[in-house]
Amino acid sequence: MIKKTLLLAGLILACQVATAKDWKQIRFATEGAYPPFNVTAPDGSVQGFDVDIANALCEEMKTECTWVKQEWDGMIPALMSRKFDAISASMSITEERKKKVDFTDKYYATPLALVAKKGSTLKPELASLKGKRIGVQRGTVADNFATRFWADHGVELVRYARQEEAYLDLSAGRIDASWVDSLEADGGFLTKPAGQDYDFAGSKVYGRNAEEKAVIGEGVGIAIRKRDTDLRDQLNKALAAIRANGTYERISKKYFPHDIYGE
């Protein structure tokens, strides 16, 4: 009897060891179309803040990172079907997404902002946007926000598969403004020649009340499958380490004038 119990305990232990996977290699996915967070280099590789942070985490964890490029709107389903192990693609931590996947702690937080022609009097408020055509990237926090607070109240929402297409249509005059992550707009459009006639319209939005805050979420994290709690814990530990040893600050400085971790 004791023997059997021992055997059983041994088996259970063995199983646990087997599930507590040794992450020798982590397959990260990113979109490669969301500058400066993730962009595709001319040679096809991915670069950017999301990529650098994840690579720094891997270095801290002494594991190998490989990268997969994945379209934004198929990102979470592909993670769940094991096409890769983690998403580092400026994905905001939201309640809706948490139903499907798990997140690490946030690695940065940025407000949303409205981008329009210089001198535009538009503001990110319902009264100002009524009857206007506002472009968002489908499935982003900006989309969720605009869908929730604006779409049913007379704002015409135009959804794009990629943020770059929204900028194209903004330049072409097809939409009045784009509602987007402010850092993305800064690095991906406003500081580029194509965006020189454009600027933020109105103030940036972190969430002006509890409802808005619930949609915008607590920041951007790395998404992993719910069952991979060990991976989440290891990534969180590594994240705390690179915050403490200055690596994070160095990477942030490379892309932005200030630390984008948020409070």
Binding site: D73, G135, G139, V158, G173, R174
Partner: protein
């Protein structure tokens, strides 16, 4: 595990999407067919210059994917400052290309027109010599012959091939969702990105497409019975007895 909420919550959007898909399909098919009839006549005309001109048009539209054509018209044209200036001054011809709906209709109509032209041209070439000789014997002018004999006959013979083109077109309109239009596929993509449930979102759209396809097939079967009845196998009366 099927999440039915993906479908039930987005039902109104699916319905609106289906309506847009039907509009795009029917309008572009109608415009394409009307334009294809004269083009097919020109394509089969003896004048090499005219025939080659029409051939160049159909060659381009049949030789490139419709998605590429749509992206060219929508994002490509919008890139030019000259075009943007026309939009700014409210030039109504160019404003068609500012509207995604207009871009989709123009592209789809030109695309289906190219295919339909070749289908009709083939049917025109297959006109039996006897019909042409009979028309000439009756003293018909070339135009009268085209109007009374060649085009009606070609339209009948083209029906089976054209029914395929119509179904391809219905399915082809799915790419309208890449230029911000919320057609049936666009509705499915929105539902998918809200719930992260691709299977439910797309299988439902797929089922609707299938129903519409079957309805189209049924309509064409009726049309063939009406206009191609003389070519169908006759049912033997004795077999029934």
């Amino acid at each position: 595990m099927i999440e039915w909420a993906v479908i039930t919550e987005n039902l109104p959007e699916y319905a609106a999407g289906l309506w847009l898909t039907l509009q795009l399909t029917v309008i572009s098919l109608a415009a394409g067919l009307l334009l294809a009839i004269p083009l097919a006549v020109l394509r089969t005309s003896g004048a090499a210059f005219v025939s080659r001109g029409v051939w160049a048009y159909t060659y381009f539209f049949r030789g490139t994917p419709m998605l590429v054509q749509l992206l060219l018209v929508y994002y490509g044209l919008g890139q030019f400052e000259w075009v943007q200036a026309r939009w700014a001054e409210g030039n109504s011809l160019w404003l068609v290309f500012r509207d995604p709906y207009g871009c989709a209709l123009v592209t789809f109509a030109l695309n289906t027109c190219a295919y339909t032209t070749e289908i009709l041209a083939g049917a025109l070439r297959a006109t039996p010599h006897g019909e042409i000789e009979a028309a000439q014997a009756c003293g018909m002018s070339r135009l009268t012959m085209i109007r009374r004999i060649l085009v009606p006959g070609a339209l009948r013979r083209a029906l089976p091939a054209y029914s395929n083109e119509a179904i391809f077109m219905l399915h082809g309109t799915a790419i309208a969702s890449t230029i911000t239009l919320v057609d049936l596929t666009g509705a499915a993509r929105n539902a998918y990105s809200q719930h992260f449930a691709p299977f439910e979102a797309f299988i439902f759209a797929g089922l609707i497409y299938m129903c519409v396809t079957f309805a189209l097939v049924g309509l064409f079967r009726l049309a063939e019975r009406r206009w191609l009845g003389h070519l169908q196998a006759r049912k033997s009366r004795q077999a029934r007895a």
